[in-house]
């Protein structure tokens, strides 16, 4: 590191090497049509997806458009509450502000019939037993606590059914074509 010369009055004092610069941003979040429709039905314990008008791909959660083609998606369909793990990560190091018991598993969940996944927690499963292709189902909050929030689903747990083939798991199903129905 470059030698910096400072006035002698600073000789021998403990140098500052780090500085706290917390950032806080307060927004009012207003969901668009797709997210609002999704959230209202999510509060009824229903999971909605949208169908791409271009190739019929099922996108969940809905974002209002097929981002591959920029095409408006306004056909909603109800999704099952089961799916599989497309990929996952076991976290062993605590992150400030996230109060989860360690280790925990975050995974890309692909609902049955969906062509894209979303990130969520997996539990009731020891980390060493978590697998790509493992079948999972949603564990919801108690009915009286359900609201228009992503926190409705506490986590996903293994169903105990046989795995889907590794090759068909996750986004691989996207590339092999809809006709194969590889995505269960």
């Amino acid at each position: 590191m470059t030698e910096i010369s400072v006035p002698s009055s600073l000789d021998g004092v403990e140098p500052v090497q780090s500085v706290r610069t917390p950032i806080r941003m307060e927004y009012t979040f207003t969901p668009g049509v797709a997210a609002q429709t999704y959230l209202r039905e999510f509060a009824n314990k229903k999971i909605l997806g949208v169908v791409s008008p271009v190739d019929g791909a099922v996108l969940v959660p809905p974002r209002g458009a097929d981002s591959r083609h920029g095409a408006l998606c306004d056909e909603f369909i109800e999704m099952p509450h089961t799916g599989h793990i497309g990929s996952f990560c076991v976290t062993n190091v605590p992150i400030p502000g996230r109060e989860l018991d360690l280790p925990y598993i975050s995974a890309w969940i692909f609902l049955d019939g969906a062509d894209i996944g979303f990130l969520n927690l997996v539990a009731e499963c020891p980390p060493e037993e978590c697998r790509i292709g493992m079948r999972v189902e949603a564990v919801w909050k108690p009915d009286e606590e359900i609201g228009m929030t992503a926190e409705n689903i506490l986590y996903w747990k293994p169903t105990g059914e046989p795995d889907i083939p590794f090759e068909a798991a996750g986004v691989r199903g996207w590339h092999v074509g809809k006709e194969d129905q590889t995505n269960a």
Binding site: M1, L10, V13, S18, T21, P22, E26, T28, Q36
Partner: protein
């Protein structure tokens, strides 16, 4: 689609960053903790406050840090009537570019006066230090006009 009242909800994003300072900003903040202000000398002898690690024109590394005075002049300013929640200051104040004596570039900070009539471009000001300093730009509480001072 059914018509509904539009949804909205508060959303807060917060990051508890701690940043390493590097040698120059580190020395600047060390100075603030000791209640002195350091600038850095360019080849032509001019002094940058706040200091930078590299010359903003030639990009050459700068290493010679020097102390500047704790008094200076308001170069330009704006009035903040209603500070936001996240502002370091609770009361109305000026935000000013202040060129300290001995420096050739101005520093952005607050001038703690009650109303905009108390301030003019060119007003002489002096640092008001916080009682307890920790090595942060907030070690300077703000600047006060020097009216009445023997200057």
């Amino acid at each position: 689609m059914e018509s509904h009242e539009r949804l909205s909800a508060p959303l807060v994003l917060e990051y508890p960053f701690t940043r390493t300072t590097g040698p120059v900003i580190g020395a600047f903040l060390t100075g603030l903790r000791e209640k002195i202000v350091l600038g850095i000398k360019r080849k032509d002898g001019s002094v940058l406050v706040p200091p930078t690690e590299y010359d903003p024109e030639t990009s050459e590394g700068l290493t010679d840090m020097v102390e500047v005075d704790q008094t200076g002049e308001v170069i330009t300013w704006t009035w903040v009537q209603e500070p936001r929640d996240q502002s370091p200051w609770d009361s109305p104040h000026a935000l000013a570019m202040i060129k300290l004596d001995g420096a050739d570039t101005p520093l952005l900070h607050a001038v703690l006066v009650d109303n905009p009539e108390s301030l003019k471009t060119g007003t002489r000001v002096r640092i008001k230090w916080r009682e307890k300093t920790e090595g942060h730009i907030k070690d300077i509480e703000g600047f006060l006009p020097m009216e009445g001072d023997d200057d």
